[in-house]
Amino acid sequence: MKSEGMEVLKLEHVTKQFGGLTAVDDVTFNIREGEIFGLIGPNGAGKTTIFNLINGVYALSAGKILFYGKTIGEGAEERKKVLKLKPFQIADMGISRTFQNIRLFRNLSVYDNVLIACHRSANYGLFESLLRLKGTRFARQEKVLRHKADDLLDLMRLVFYRDVISNNLPYGLQRKLEIARALALEPKLLLLDEPAAGMNPEETGSLMEMIRSIRDQFHLTVLIIEHHMDLIMGVCDRIHVLNFGKSLAEGTPAQVQSSPAVIEAYLGVQDGALYAVNEGEQ
């Protein structure tokens, strides 16, 4: 399952400029089916920008992004007009994500958060929802949705907190809920933006286990951005290193750790970045 398998996500010479600033510069990598792929780099290296390019929040300046062979984004240099699907269309194709700074539906219960995201498993129309009778398509599908939401909470061990307003959850559980919500979309590719931020080592350990088990259970491919080196090195099959928007290295955790370019970027005198990374490593 690890090395062979078809390409899920392919970034080709992806570039993003904000005015004069090049946030992502000519980045190319492939993610294969079933992989857990890590994207690391010092603060400001362009990791989150890449996430936003993948799910269509930003339009590419140049380059191309393919998902299962289909172009989901193409920069202006390749064609006259930028090709950009709307974020919800990309989510619909099977890419879902979590956020670095948690974005839950804060005033809703844990259950409702997941239930909302389950909407893809139903397709009853607007007027069908007005007639609430037993045996209608509405009633049948709504039942399926509710079962699904409960199953997901069960899986993520959030059942006990089912009726708590999500804003009142402790930090670690909010992160878990975000993952549950992302899974509700039945994604093929899951993007995790710093899932372990703010977690203690113990929680990080169980998160690693969880990422592996959901990968296997849902037949997912996972792309992770993370500062916790323990997590990245422990869980990823391959890692891509960015620095100042440019690709630095790519390979297995062992290869990356011994790469001179990576060591220089992390330990060499790179103003500002040094502190942030060191903090993450401890």
């Binding site: 956020f99 909302i116 509405f138 949705l145 089912r162 203690n200």
Partner: protein
Amino acid sequence: MSWYYIEGILIQCGYVLMVVLGLSLLTGFAGLFSFGHAGFMAIGAYVSAICTTKFGLSFLPALLLGGVVAGVVGAGLGKLTLNLKGDYFCIATLGFGEAVRLILENWEYVGGARGISGIPWETNLKSVIIACAIGTLALMALVRSRHGRSIIAIREDELAAEMSGINTFRYKMIALIISAVYAGIGGGLLAHYMTYIQPKMFQMVKSTEYTIIVIFGGLGSVTGSIIGTFILTFLPEMLRSLDNWRLVIYGLAVIVIMVIRPRGLMGGVELGDIFRLPARRRAAKLAEERIKNMNGESAGEEAQR
């Protein structure tokens, strides 16, 4: 107090409720503030009044046509403005409401500033109750479907909603169109109760009044909007003997409620939920207690570090 007087206030509650229900969907559930709903109301009122006075249509089709035209105008407004973020949409609706009023004021075909008079008196307690019952049930059903939940998700976090595969533009559009239809029908009911309409009746003050009712009742609660409508429509009438002071008391009542219950009377909860789900509430309380204990522990850990 005669029944005739009370009946009048109840009918007033009825057409106000139609507008408020629509606005409740837009503001309370989709999180979009509108200060132009008097504009949609005016469109519904004028269209239905023209239909009955000039084209001899009967009341029901005229009323529905008023709602449809308001909905179509709402769709046009949405197409132009729903891409605007946050407060900008609110400003756009404010401009829209005033624009509608000014167009009506300067359009001789609809009577200019004099408006339309001699509209048949068709709105009675029965028609208002039927309209409100259908309106309430439809709205309640809508917000408890996947469509309604998608609309609520937009209020909570638009970006997260979009990332969850929700077509946020489409759902904002749906919310706006439905709320415009409700306002249009409310306007039609008003026209056929008053038997005359003037552009002056649809000033911005009216729009604000409806928004206040929705907030007073509690954002995201249909029953809250209904209770809010009744209280804030009856209150000024009950205080009529106090003459000019009644508006001061009206204002104070609103302020007091917002201070005591910042999330409005019902605060996002439906009246039915309070009685229906005691087990759920107990479960939530239990879980929250455990979280509190957990927080205490982790706070201790942090102090140790």
